[in-house]
């Protein structure tokens, strides 16, 4: 990356004896949409708050547009932020909320009014200017919060779990709207979420965080298909993990339960007798043999869930079990619990986790 717009360099944060963020590094290009994804307590919001200026790093530096903003006050950073709890000012109307940053910046009233109208148009709520926040739904309030953050034309947009408080349907439509506005304005955006689907669907890149560190930073496709660590593999998407033992390192044979599969070139230096965890996405597994699948294992169907268009089947393989989805076919009856079954997959889809 030539000249990153936002550069977080070796940032750490400790509260007393507890280290919340440890040596976090990330470069973000201008106009990029990067998500911080991780479970609660992984440090994602703390990093965001350090970028906003609400927390001071214990170590490291933060640069925006080449300027060191590490110790700059939040009101001097020209950064927009949307909060999980909306944070609209209850005593101000929608228009006054959106115009707040402009008024503070001393923008002339006529220009501010024009900008507020533009923002209301952008979020498709042009007739809501005179209403108060309590008169709006959660989704509308969050759109107003987005407009308010964008009105002063910030250099950077920070979104702190902005969809968490909304119901599922609104969440999906609003995330698409956020992404569309972000693309339209070309504003560099950091989006914090613990929802993997959200992160995968709207990000240019994702930083998967765990224990205060970035476990992996990459494009959604890369994060999902080539997870760098066991945590990333487990956290992003559904993952089936089978325990195996290397039976012949030279030929890449791995014994799973009582059967052997060939994983040549994927053992990464493992020796014969080593224990391995083999991870497979549900969509990589087929019930029965399929052309192109070079590995198969026998088991017994332990659970069947009919979900309409798909049927989720759980197959027990020795002590472990794998979950897979098959499309519902009206002419074929669904599998029956207790039946013997064979699963097949391509050895290329197996992720070997050490």
């Amino acid at each position: 990356m030539a000249d990153p717009f936002l550069s977080i360099q070796g940032v750490s944060k400790a509260f007393g004896q507890t280290t919340v963020v440890e040596n976090f590094n990330l470069d973000v290009e201008r106009g990029e949409f990067v998500s911080f994804l991780g479970p609660s307590g992984c440090g994602k919001t703390t990093v965001l708050r350090m970028v906003a200026g609400f927390e001071e790093p214990t170590a490291g530096s933060i640069y925006v547009g080449g300027k060191d903003i590490t110790y700059l006050k939040p009101n001097q950073r020209n950064v927009g932020m949307v909060f999980q709890a909306y944070a609209l000012f209850p005593n101000l109307t929608v228009a006054q909320n959106i115009g707040f940053g402009l008024k503070v910046a001393g923008v002339a009233k006529a220009d501010a009014d024009k900008r507020v109208a533009e923002m209301l148009e952008m979020i498709k709520l042009p007739q809501f200017g005179d209403r108060y926040p309590y008169q709006l739904s959660g989704g509308q309030q969050q759109r107003i919060a987005l407009a308010r953050a964008l009105a002063p034309k910030p250099k950077l947009l920070l979104l702190d779990e902005p969809l968490s408080a909304l119901d599922a349907k609104v969440r999906v439509s609003l995330r698409e709207e956020i992404r569309s506005i972000q693309k339209q304005l070309g504003i560099t955006t950091i989006f914090v979420t613990h929802d993997q689907e959200e992160a995968l669907s709207i990000s240019d890149r994702i930083a998967v965080m765990y224990g205060g560190k970035a476990e992996q930073v990459g494009a959604p496709f890369e994060i999902y298909n080539r997870p760098a660590t066991k945590f990333v593999a487990n956290f992003v998407g559904t993952l089936n993990v089978l325990e195996g033992t290397v039976s012949d390192a030279a030929s890449g044979k791995v014994k799973v339960n009582t059967e052997e599969i060939s994983l040549k070139g994927k053992l990464n230096g493992s020796k014969t007798g080593d224990m391995l965890s083999l991870a497979l996405r549900p969509e990589a597994i087929s019930l029965g043999r399929r052309p192109g699948n070079d590995a198969s294992l026998s088991g017994q169907i332990s659970d069947v869930h009919f979900l309409g268009s798909v049927i989720r089947v759980r197959v027990g393989i020795g002590e472990s079990s794998v979950s897979l989805d098959t499309f519902n076919n009206s002419t074929t009856p669904p599998p029956v619990v207790g039946e013997k079954a064979e699963i097949s997959f391509s050895s290329g889809d197996v992720l070997v986790l050490h």
Binding site: G53, A85, P90
Partner: protein
């Protein structure tokens, strides 16, 4: 009617009688100044008395300054405690409760000893200085009520998020407190202000021992020397206090409705 409900009503009626009968009796007595018939003569005498007007005006002015001082001290303190120093809350709450524990007479004797004409801060050396000391004393006496009112108001809004939202939009502390926090707790501040007003209007000890022409000492003086006028004054004082309470109730309907706590 269920037994529980019956006894609840009995208790309520007994409580209401305990409160209202002395009040009605006082009111009835205040109307008896003219022999053989009811009249508002006692009220005319009281309201027409120049000392009533002087002392009441004095107390109103002192109350206004007390409210301003109380707001200037309490709002930033309660806000800062909520925002940055929640660990100090028990200490601050204890301090604000002290005026309820320490009698006003102890406070005023402390003032007389500390701020006499020979002290480095000779408040008592002039009438204006004594007025200032009286206002400080009243602000202290009103602290438990003002602090709790403002703190309750702050509890209804998400102080931290609203502050951060304003900060990130470029606002400084004065703008945040003046345009975001204060308007959202204004009703609570007004509640505290009216409670302060009611306290100041009826207060006797501080004003009397600091020898200021306040309404409290005037009521005591009238009570000691007249028959019907004290009853009329008591009713007027009640009416002022109830008026304040009614204003609080009316204003609370205009409180900004918070939209900062998502379900």
């Amino acid at each position: 009617m269920k037994t529980g409900r019956f006894w609840a009503w009995v208790t309520f009626i007994l409580g209401a009688c305990y409160f209202f009968i002395p009040l009605i009796a006082t009111f009835e007595f205040s109307l008896r100044m003219r022999r053989g018939e009811y009249s508002f003569d006692a009220y005319s005498v009281v309201l027409g008395d120049a000392r009533f007007q002087q002392t009441f005006s004095y107390s109103v002015i002192v109350a206004v300054f007390t409210i301003i001082l109380g707001v200037l001290i309490v709002v930033p303190t309660a806000y800062w405690i909520r925002l940055r120093m929640p660990h100090l809350r028990p200490i601050v709450e204890f301090i604000t409760l002290l005026p309820l524990i320490i009698p006003a007479i102890v406070i005023v004797f402390g003032y007389i000893r500390m701020y006499g004409s020979n002290s480095p801060l000779p408040f008592l050396a002039s009438a204006r200085g004594t007025d200032v000391l009286l206002i400080i004393g009243y602000a202290t006496l009103a602290l438990p009520y003002m602090y709790r009112a403002v703190d309750t108001g702050l509890r209804t809004i998400d102080v931290r998020t609203l502050t951060e939202a304003a900060q990130i939009l470029g606002a400084g502390w004065t703008t945040i407190i003046g345009r975001i926090i204060l308007p959202n707790v204004l009703i609570a501040v007004l509640s505290g202000a009216f409670l302060t007003f009611a306290i100041v209007i009826g207060e006797f000890t501080l004003a009397s021992l600091l020898n200021r022409p306040a309404f409290g000492p005037y009521m005591q003086l009238v009570g000691a020397n007249r028959a019907y006028e004290p009853a009329a004054l008591a009713i007027i004082a009640f009416a002022i206090t109830w008026g304040c309470m009614s204003v609080i109730q009316v204003l609370s309907r205009f409180a900004p409705k918070s939209a900062n706590r998502p379900n």
